[in-house]
């Protein structure tokens, strides 16, 4: 595990993102050199699928060799881990191979424990949470951080200490506060993990009250309005995080109401709600055509419109193209060449 490699790659990704939005000169981006292989998304998907399938067949081969004695899982985990470390040595970073081999090795490792020792599902979920959290922070993987959070949630809910939904709410809030505090002075490579955790925990905090009243529409409906509060506070506090999680939670609530309840009145209601959302969007686009209250809503291609951005523009746009704040960040910048 090379911590320095992850840190350097994270810095390089940040620089590429800043260069892409046009606020970092090419020279400064080029000056920071790090060799890593991170192909385009289509290649990543193809490599991911092929690696997962290949490792699944390796596990199948182990089954045949060791005649279903459970030792095959740990062997498959070791082989997957070896492939992961080989990919790291070859400077792979989000190439599809490194992600797939890492996930498969953790999956095989946990299956080995589950198959060999008669432990409860709750304990297995705790084990998954611990392994995923460790790997997430050591190997800087956001997906594993989410998996760790969900497994921990499952474990706590299974303890039956409190109402499951209160546990959901409490854990989400605690994790949100932890991520917000820890994210203040973290390394560049950990920053993305903490920001992912902030998104996930705030999303669960938004949807947890509506889950409490599952099936009871008259209680469910008011609880389902919590995402609207999120959106309201997002506007007040100019927080993109609250806005995004509010919208996501709203989608979740609409989908769950459609799933839980049926009948003409509900479908009619949703027709009405969707028309209202459509009208709201038209109004938002109209009002935020020019920056207002810290927000703006313009098409990315149109941001060079001088009248719109002049009051806020940095003096010189480095790459000749300029984009507004927010929205563009979050993904690792892919360097096509290797």
């Amino acid at each position: 595990m090379n911590n320095l490699f992850f840190e350097k790659v994270a810095i390089k990704s940040l620089l590429i993102d800043l260069y892409d939005v046009g606020i970092l000169p090419k020279q400064e981006n080029d000056n920071f050199k790090i060799k890593f292989y991170s192909p385009s998304i289509y290649i990543q998907i193809a490599l991911f699928i092929a690696t997962v399938a290949g490792l699944a067949f390796v596990a199948g081969f182990m089954f045949l060799l060791f005649n279903f004695s459970n030792v095959e899982f740990i062997l498959a985990a070791i082989i997957s881990a070896l492939i992961f470390f080989w990919s790291l040595k070859a400077h792979h970073y989000n190439s599809g191979i490194d992600n797939a081999s890492l996930y498969m090795s953790i999956a095989f490792f946990n299956i080995f424990f589950a198959a060999n020792f008669s432990i409860s599902i709750a304990l297995i979920s705790l084990l998954v949470a611990v392994t995923c959290a460790t790997a997430a922070f050591l190997l800087k993987d956001r997906f594993l951080a989410i998996a760790a959070f969900l497994s921990l949630l499952y474990y706590l809910v299974n303890l039956n200490l409190l109402n499951a939904n209160l546990v959901l709410l409490a854990v989400s809030l605690v994790l949100f506060i932890f991520s917000a505090l820890a994210g203040r002075n973290c390394s560049v490579s950990n920053d993305k993990i903490f920001s992912t955790l902030k998104y996930v925990s705030s999303f669960f905090a938004a949807i947890s009250p509506s889950i409490v009243f599952e099936g009871k529409y008259f209680l469910y409906a008011p609880a389902g309005f919590l995402p609207v509060l999120f959106i309201f506070f997002a506007v007040k506090l100019k927080s993109l995080l609250l806005l995004r999680t509010g919208i996501l939670a709203l989608l979740f609530n609409i989908a769950s109401i459609i799933f839980l309840f049926s009948g003409l009145k509900f479908y009619g209601l949703f027709c009405l709600v969707s028309v209202l959302i459509l009208l709201l969007c038209i109004v938002v686009i109209k009002i935020l055509n020019v920056p207002k209250s810290g927000f703006v809503c313009v098409e990315i291609d149109e941001v060079n419109n001088a009248e719109t951005v002049t009051p806020f523009l940095p003096e010189n746009s480095a790459a000749g193209e300029f984009k507004y704040g927010g929205g563009s960040f979050g993904g690792g910048g892919a360097s096509g060449s290797f």
Partner: protein, 302 residues
């Protein structure tokens, strides 16, 4: 983005003071919520269309509701035209909603009133014509995708998880011919800029799904496998040359799947050791596939 991190990379000397100030300035800019608004627009269109479709399917029995649906579709198109003239992004979504309503409208007329006396193909044909007209008038990619789907439906091609592998020779040939036609259409100067990708995407997917179905359903399998291999080489070379990664990766995946199916299914296996052979085949062939993709990507970047 974390301000502390920007400050730290500035202190490490990775970025200059000028860049640091520019970035800090940039972070104070108004937040662009265009992407979020687009998601909401899309959500509202999909939700409305889904719920309306359900209401029609479950509860509608009167002609008045069909008239209302037709009127609603017209309202969507007229408001879409208005917003299009104002260069408002909402126009695309209103046109998409109108297009979805057209499909529901004709589907409802056929289902409830047997508009063309059981000639379902005529319903899909009229819908297709209207959707193509709407796509070209408003330059709407989503509507074009609906129109192409209707064209395929009119020819009798339906692709779903249930019936992808249960199709006959005529449908496969229709699929191949349609995919070639779509590819030729993608090169028309009339819409090169707007619709080229959509046509090519449908064309490549339809072509290889048709060939895969042929390998699975028709005899002789070797002939269709050979056809898949030859066409894959041609299509792959073409897209590789014009550096369209999405398409050549897609071709590679379809070809691998088709050829693997042929190898596993046609070679006669006997005894316990055949399963070893199959598993080892997949392990080594997938490793080779990964190697191939990585190297092709390298070549493509050069």
């Amino acid at each position: 983005m974390n301000r502390n991190i920007i400050e730290r990379i500035y202190q490490k000397g990775i970025i200059s003071k000028e860049s640091y100030l520019r970035i800090i300035n940039w972070l104070d800019l108004p937040v662009n919520i265009f992407r979020e608004v687009k998601i909401l627009l899309y959500l509202s269109v999909i939700t409305f269309s889904y719920c309306l479709g359900y209401i029609i399917y479950m509860y509608s029995t009167s002609a008045g509701k069909a008239v209302a649906l037709g009127t609603f579709s017209l309202v969507c198109f007229s408001t879409g035209t208005f917003f299009k003239s104002k260069k408002n992004i909402t126009a695309d979504y209103l046109i998409l909603l109108g297009s979805l309503s057209i499909i529901s409208f004709f589907g409802y007329l056929q289902f409830q009133y047997h508009l063309f006396n059981g000639r379902y193909s005529l319903t899909s044909f009229i819908t297709m014509l209207l959707l193509f007209a709407a796509a070209y008038i408003y330059r709407n990619v989503a509507t074009l995708a609906l129109a192409i789907s209707n064209l395929a439906l009119w020819l009798g091609i339906t692709v779903s998880i249930k019936n992808v592998f249960i199709i006959n020779f005529q449908i496969i040939i229709s699929g191949i011919c349609l995919s070639i036609l779509l590819y030729l259409l993608s090169h028309l100067k009339l819409h090169k800029k707007y619709f080229s990708f959509t046509y090519q995407n449908f064309s490549v997917n339809l072509f290889f799904i048709s060939l895969l179905s042929a390998i699975i359903n028709l005899k002789p399998e070797w002939f269709y496998s050979l056809l898949l291999l030859l066409s894959a080489v041609l299509v792959f070379r073409h897209f590789f040359k014009i550096k369209q990664k999405y398409f050549w990766v897609l071709v590679a995946l379809y070809t691998y799947f088709g050829l693997s199916y042929f190898i596993v299914n046609t070679i006669e296996f006997s005894g316990f050791y055949s399963i070893y052979f199959i598993i080892l085949y997949f392990i080594f062939s997938l490793a080779a596939f990964i190697y191939f993709i990585i190297n092709m990507n390298k070549l493509s970047n050069e």
